[in-house]
Symmetry: D2
Subunit: 403 residues, 4 copies
């Protein structure tokens, strides 16, 4: 264990990762570099600096990655209409690749030979962190304390803090749930949720009101798309992370974006999770709406057929893989004409499309006129179309095949 | 045109198909058999008898097909979680195969040599009717008056009625929209909807209240599944069509099931449609919920990957095809363990899963305990799992591949 | 029929298309522009000039498209490893898009308002020509004489020639089969082949000797790949069409590339065809071999999963479509590292891979050493890998699921 | 390590697994049950009895599983036309599930609490054995000596034999390659093959002559299919394993079935392997031929689209999984009409289809006549077919989209 000299830790500033700092220093007799990123989790990141210093950390990275996160990870994923298992918008999954990338970049910058994270051995996040790290820096070493140590209960962690002089702050209103947050979503696991029949508690949710508590008056918004990405809201141009922040706010106020699901983890078990993805819920609906008038039918169907695989690849942690890149090439190739506006009504949990328009629309209101003038549609063509499409079925039936 | 002796017509009793009766009698000098089915469209079918008689029809078929429709068509489709283009629950598509089947069966019973329908030459329904008919009775002739005649405006139809003594009833509250209804849904097309940017009018909708008008109090329901189908609601056993009727009522009352989309028709054009699918919206959500605890991960993903093709096949009118049967075999094979209960909250347009339970659940609340006792989960296994999954990526990176 | 002023005809110089020239002039009272391309069919194209002149044609296009055809159509398709229905290398399909493109370009250049071709109404080629033409020039008119006229037998064609003074040359050695040839392949249909149980005649084949007649000594060749395309043979750099010509020659001499299949046409019928694709047979085998060491596993599998759809799209005539372009984007994205050499043995119908090497190889001969040094492979990792991959199966089995 | 009382070992009777017997007895202080199966590997299995006895084994299972192997594993897989990575016929993969099943059944019968095998930690076979075992008996323990012990060289194994009195027979003609054989194939890995550029040696191959050495006269055979399986050869009814034995013989004599590939292992590395699959090579070609006249087009394409996933599932070791079962349900559903005869010519490495016929053929030689009489094909239908299929492309082009 003595061949580790320096390790870069994904550091939140909270109890668990503070323990990890100390544990790494002790166990590996190595220097620890902390990396704390603002990816929109909604908590201050600056306090992590003092905390890290107090633990003897000399190299401290604190970064605002909200724009990069939204622009280079969230938006490309939404171009794919990615949904995992019919429900999950991949909020946790999509934040890991960026963290992994920065961890190895910082390892390069600081001459560290290892990275470390606070994800447990039962979840998907360890996989996502580590696959990313290995893909980007194959010789990197990964230390996953939760898979190594025996501090496997809250009490043991607190005892460890006590023994090592780590200050434990009383967090008022600390949630009992295992949570993860970034600009795209916040997740809840554990506690009462471990029984899939048990109802989630109302006071668990953080980012949205319930539909019941949402305003009686709907909110109308216009989203403007360019090449499949939202570039303006209500006519006002915004950066990617501003778009998502705005949508989170307005969606959360209108009770939008909660789901409660049982999902299949890559490591092989089923897990119940509750997620708030307010802005993302709007984005999925709106992106499909703008695509509905701008994408060719077969292209849309092709995207739909490849989507489950794309979502699986992202969920399983293979963002940094050649197969994700190849699928992204297909998806991005289709998004050139995905331009225009979508008008939405937000009301007590509902996202309703009121209209969509585009200069690249393939919808032709005057299709009748178009056809008569241009010969594009002659109702009699339908007979031949049906007859030849039916031919294989007729031949089969005429030869006695039963359906 | 003289080789047609008798034709079976899908007859609604309304103006258009009444004109068709007369037009067929005149144009083909043939006998017309009418077939009118109750598939849950919400209108009386008996009046069609007198109407048909008054047009000189001698063989009149009026049938209640609600149970067969729901049990043999709607339910199998929902086992697939079928959604067309991410939004559409295939409400119109799924009713056509049964009508096509009865048309050719009645042709057999009555010795008719042709069938006829009132679908236009621009839509999907002509395709669905005719593919089904050809697949089941390859020698059948199909007469599609809208592709043949020149009665291509409402005034011409009314003039025709006038000339041929067809009584035109003033329908109070007649919708200006082109509509189609069955137990699964009701659809609206045309008029203001032809502009995809124009908002649908509030008074268009028939089967549901708006979320705004829905009750302030949520409704809680329990659905019981057996082999992927709902067999009881709130503990009360029901037939298939009773299930769907019940869900339509309770969903409609709670403002659930409206969508407004632009879809791609099989004949090649985009079309804007509004749909109310109250019960179906619940069924999709609930079926995914019960599958989430009872289906194996890879089976669920396999179903998801094949679903877009299944939905396309149904949408395009290939219910009666060997490829639909083959996919159905895969889907049905997976549904044996899809048993148990789903509890839902219905509230102002929202369907929220509160819980799901099953004796066939693959969710293991005691996975921790299970693992320690049985060795099923050792956190250290995760390291090997990740290492080998990363191997190909590491080799690539070590040989200089960039991501 | 009088609204056609000028029509561009895909003209081979043979009997059928010569009749079409005259028939178009007479039937449509229009000017005919002939377009004759050398796409490697192995016959002189210059004689078509005199022939066309003798029919009164004033605008005559004769072009050598062999390089464009191979480089921009054949090679991109082989990057996909495209095979239709497990056997067919798409030789006819891939030549049509280029012809369609030139037809509409020439229509633009000459101010023609229509195009015409000599494909029958039962085959795939009419679809391929016309889909391409409509996709590239939506207002174009298409005249397909075989779907319009009544010259539906050879005798009627000869009579027509007689009546219109079209000189019919006695072609010695004229094949009785319906044939199509280009640099990629030659096809045979009709006659004895119409019985799928009947054996193809030995003297039917034109481009290859039979394995029996091939030399007793094998031929060894080295192919060099760059970005998925062959750029040199036996170390000698070649243009695309030179590559294919070379391979056709050497493969044909060694009895390589014959197949005899029953395929499913897009228009709905089954058809028996025999094909010689000598060079293409080598190219498919060799491309898979170079990919086997240079492509990532998941990328290779992704390509395999999308390939049947790509092949279907090309077969059905949708080369000029956004879905083909989207798939091509995915495929081309993967081909950057597909560089290196493949060594093959050609012997009496067999193409045997003797070796493959690449500076971009992901194959690691020293994987053992690599692992020990770098920790990339620890046999103990396999245990965790298997355990977690088995977890869902174990949970299911422990809960009583039977397989 | 003391909690293992009895272990069932997949025992070949060779040096490696004999060492494992002793090592298990020593290391785990447990009883060893040996299981040796004849799955057509071409070596006597009875000698394993004396060998096992001499090692102190009391419970010895020796079984002839050739029929079960061919009928229940090989044949169902060939119904899928399964090919891994475009080349590999899955010969090794398909034998493991049966061995895994018998191992756990024997564990049940003998009260053993563990199973063991001689596969290394770098290959696929460990995965296939263990996934199968866990899926069928979730509480089973698996001992994989190659992942545990330090006998990682041939010399160490020989020393171990020497120390423990295990008699080592000089095997004359012992191949230096790592080999695996069963009724479907024989494989070669290692040695010179570890360089993918190095040519395989001629004297490596065991089951087939080279094309060069094959007879000058072709062999003609007729295969009769029933529901997708071969049931007779040259008119003579045969059991499944007799079919495969016969085909192996006749194919091997004609130089058929050798391949030389680099494949991607599930554990993440590329590996070069040479395979002889004489009978299987015929079976794949012949099955496609009989399907070509009996399967509906869309069913055939559906099968082709699902095949790569099926092959991957089998290759990766998930035969005993619900996803394989679901895909098999789809595949088997399609095979009812796959009946009839295929005639093949075997000659110097080539398998040539000479003809195919079936009472369930969907090929219609008289399609012309059929059409005229029945109206099944009217060439004019093609115009409407093309027009509507082109509609989306025309609309796009008319709105300025470029291809």
């Amino acid at each position: 264990m003595s061949d580790i000299n320096k390790v870069v830790l994904a550091y939140s500033g909270g109890l668990d990762t503070s323990v990890i700092v100390k544990w790494l220093q002790e166990t590996y007799n190595c220097e620890v570099v902390t990396f704390t990123a603002d990816i929109g989790q909604g908590e201050e990141v600056e306090p992590a600096r003092e905390k890290a210093k107090s633990l003897g950390v000399k190299e401290i990275y604190i970064e605002d990655l909200r724009e990069e996160f939204t622009r280079d990870y969230v938006f490309p994923m939404f171009r794919a209409n990615a949904v995992y298992e019919g429900e999950y918008l991949l909020g946790t999954s999509i934040a890991r690749p960026l963290i992994a990338k920065r961890l190895v970049e910082i390892a390069d910058e600081t001459g560290a030979d290892a990275i470390s994270h606070g994800a447990t051995g039962k979840g998907n996040d360890q996989v996502r962190f580590e696959l990313g790290a290995y893909a980007l820096k194959p010789g990197i070493k990964v230390i996953a304390p939760w898979r190594e140590w025996d501090l496997n209960s809250r009490q043991k962690l607190l005892d460890y803090c006590d023994q090592h002089g780590i200050k434990v702050e009383k967090q008022k209103g600390k949630s009992p749930y295992s949570m993860d947050a970034n600009l795209l979503h916040i997740s809840y696991e554990g506690e009462v949720l471990e029984d899939p029949w048990a109802q989630a508690e109302d006071d668990m949710w953080r980012w949205s009101v319930s539909p019941e508590e949402a305003p009686e008056e709907p909110t109308i918004i216009d989203l403007t798309y360019q090449c499949g990405d939202i570039v303006a809201i209500n006519g006002e141009a915004m950066k990617a992370h501003e778009v998502l922040s705005y949508l989170n706010k307005v969606a959360g106020e209108n009770g939008i974006g909660r789901i409660d699901i049982v999902e299949n983890r890559y490591v092989g078990m089923k897990s119940r999770g509750c997620y708030e993805t307010p802005g993302g819920t709007i984005m999925l609906k709106a992106h499909r709406a703008i695509e509905s008038i701008t994408l060719d039918r077969e292209v849309a169907h092709l995207k739909d057929s490849i989507m489950p695989r794309y979502a699986e690849v992202v969920y399983n942690g293979y963002w940094w893989s050649p197969e994700r890149r190849a699928m992204q090439a297909l998806i991005d190739e289709t998004q050139g004409p995905v331009n225009g506006d979508v008008r939405l009504k937000l009301y007590k949990g509902n996202v309703t499309v009121l209209g969509r328009r585009s200069e690249d629309s393939l919808f032709d209101e005057k299709i009748a006129t178009f056809e008569e003038d241009e010969g594009a549609y002659d109702q009699k063509d339908a007979e031949g179309f049906i007859k030849l499409n039916a031919l294989r079925l007729r031949i089969a039936a005429s030869k006695g095949r039963k359906l």
